[in-house]
């Protein structure tokens, strides 16, 4: 099938690669189908494109690239929901927020997208471990949006 996207134009979607987002992404609960788009092998930033709404896409990154000691704990409920039997098939993606003015790049380590790559099921999992921030900045402190009204954990 083909879908029209705002960023990539008309793209062909291989239906066997569609990921079923159980529960959706918070704030986008109505969108259940996504696909992973890797633009360039050398670029660690990938796109998590909604198949239901071509305008919605998230930049994602493998959080182990930014935090080698990242240890997300997936609870029993989510393990069951994601039908995880073998952790080898689990892929973890962290949503990246890129803001231009001022330039800041942050990674959401508190609520990663956990994918069962074998069964193509995923969920944005909110980790119990409060030490993982919603905004883990890759850019220096000087360039942050300090007008934000929300706290970081």
């Amino acid at each position: 099938m083909n879908i029209a996207t705002s960023r990539f134009g008309e793209i062909n979607v291989d239906e066997s690669r569609i990921i079923d987002m159980r529960g959706g992404i918070l704030g986008f609960e109505h969108l259940k189908k996504y696909m992973l788009r890797i633009q360039n092998e050398k670029n660690p930033f990938w796109w998590f494109q909604s198949v239901d709404d071509g305008k919605v896409a998230f930049v994602v990154i493998n959080p182990f690239i930014t935090n080698a000691d990242y240890k997300p704990v997936i609870d029993d409920n989510d393990t069951k929901l994601l039908e995880i039997e073998n952790t080898e098939h689990v892929v973890i993606l962290a949503i990246v927020t890129i803001l231009q003015n001022p330039f800041s790049v942050s990674v959401n380590l508190r609520a990663p997208i956990v994918v069962n790559a074998e069964k193509k099921i995923a969920k944005q999992v909110v980790l119990e471990d409060q030490t993982y921030p919603v905004r883990y900045y890759l850019t220096p402190a000087g360039s942050r949006d300090e007008t934000s009204t929300t706290r970081d954990n």
Binding site: F45, V59, L99, Q100, A111, V126, L138, T150
Partner: protein, 87 residues
């Protein structure tokens, strides 16, 4: 809003498959246990709101387009290379 009074150890049920049990009260803190099916997401409200807002920001991404991503990567690489060998 429905308001109920419960003793510790007592529960309330919501629908057929959600049960909330009041476990412990200490000063202004209350510990509750929640049993719900896996498809029902249970979150602390403030973290739920924070993640929701962050997701919305990320999706807007100041209109980051596919072609601009490599530029951001280049900028970032320079910053990251200080403490990492490669990205």
């Amino acid at each position: 809003m429905l308001i109920l009074t419960r003793k510790l150890g007592e529960s309330i049920t919501i629908g057929d498959d959600i049960r909330i049990t009041f476990l412990e009260a200490k000063g202004k803190q209350v510990r509750i246990g929640i049993e719900a099916p896996p498809h029902i997401a249970v979150h602390r409200e403030e973290i739920y709101q924070l993640i929701r807002e962050q997701n919305i920001k990320a999706a807007k991404g100041d209109n980051i387009e596919k072609d601009t991503l490599p530029d951001f990567l280049e900028g970032l690489k320079k910053l990251l290379l200080k403490d990492q060998q490669e990205l």
